[in-house]
């Protein structure tokens, strides 16, 4: 149940991140259409990347070096997965510019999801600090 809740959390923030990246790309390209096939392809990509994240995202490691190593490995794996999905879904072509687009898009989604989780952690920290202050006053 815990894993399922985690997957849902990742799925939600990754889907939002992908949609935001798509909106940015569409605006840059000047194309105002949003193909309906995206409504199926984006959740598929989100689910695949959520499952990969559950497998690879660093958590228990407290030392900075192994943590950043796992972040790097996680990011590279995501880029590979998103490039494969991007080419399969016809979002990009398998050429230098297509791969670069997927790398940058993945970076954008990565930063967005990390920012979301960081702000959520900030809220948790505030709640816990308040509770600790109340406990220490007793």
């Amino acid at each position: 149940m815990k894993k399922f809740t985690e997957i849902i959390k990742y799925f939600t923030s990754i889907t939002t991140g992908i949609v935001l990246v798509f909106i940015v790309i569409i605006l840059i390209q000047g194309d105002k259409s949003f193909p309906t096939k995206f409504l199926f392809e984006i959740p598929c990509a989100s689910l695949a990347t959520s499952l990969l994240t559950i497998l690879l995202a660093p958590d228990e490691t407290s030392q900075p070096k192994p943590f950043f190593l796992r972040v790097t490995l996680h990011y590279i794996a995501l880029c590979v997965l998103m490039t494969v999905l991007g080419v399969s879904f016809g979002w990009v072509k398998l050429d230098a510019s297509g791969i670069l687009t997927m790398i940058l898009s993945t970076a954008g989604v990565y930063v967005f999801t990390y920012a979301v989780s960081y702000f959520s952690s900030m809220r948790d920290a505030e709640e816990i600090n308040s509770a600790l202050n109340r406990k220490n006053k007793k």
Binding site: D59, E60, Y114, A125, N129
Partner: protein, 148 residues
């Protein structure tokens, strides 16, 4: 609530009698604290042994199949496994925060956010320990924080 302290006779031992209409969570926690104060953990360091009170231990950490108790300025190895400490002191201020660490929440100075949905606990002696995201809900429950 009235608190009455009496001197027992010489041939009887110290005892604490609690009279209450209902045994609520606050009273249970108080009873547990009273019992815990007498439950010590044996710590080993440099061929010496010391009886450690759980209240003085900042955190326990499991490293290479050994469990260490970190006090304010000293570190002791203990024979108990982390799961045993977790079970034996489940009603106390000792709370598991990751696969390898149990922390004394009454000795936490503050909590700070970190990347990767983790939190960092700064202890009152300045040491820092990482709270894994999987254990944040349990920590919040222990502190009586309602779920969002």
């Amino acid at each position: 609530m009235r608190i009455i302290i009496e001197n027992p006779s010489d041939d009887s031992e110290d005892e604490i009698i609690i009279r209450c209409r209902e045994l609520d969570d606050e009273l249970l926690a108080l009873i547990y604290k009273l019992k815990q104060g007498r439950n010590h953990i044996t710590g080993y360091s440099n061929k010496t042994m010391k009886q450690l009170s759980p209240r003085d231990i900042y955190y326990f950490e499991s490293v290479d199949n050994k469990v260490f108790a970190y006090c304010e300025n000293e570190v002791f190895e203990v024979r108990e496994k982390l799961y045993e400490i977790e079970n034996n002191y489940s009603g106390s201020d000792l709370q598991r925060i990751s696969k390898s660490v149990i922390v004394n929440i009454s000795l936490i100075e503050k909590i700070s956010p970190m990347l990767g949905s983790r939190l960092e606990a700064t202890m009152k002696n300045g040491e820092k320990v990482i709270i894994s995201r999987q254990y944040v809900p349990e920590l919040k429950k222990k502190l009586g924080i309602a779920e969002r």
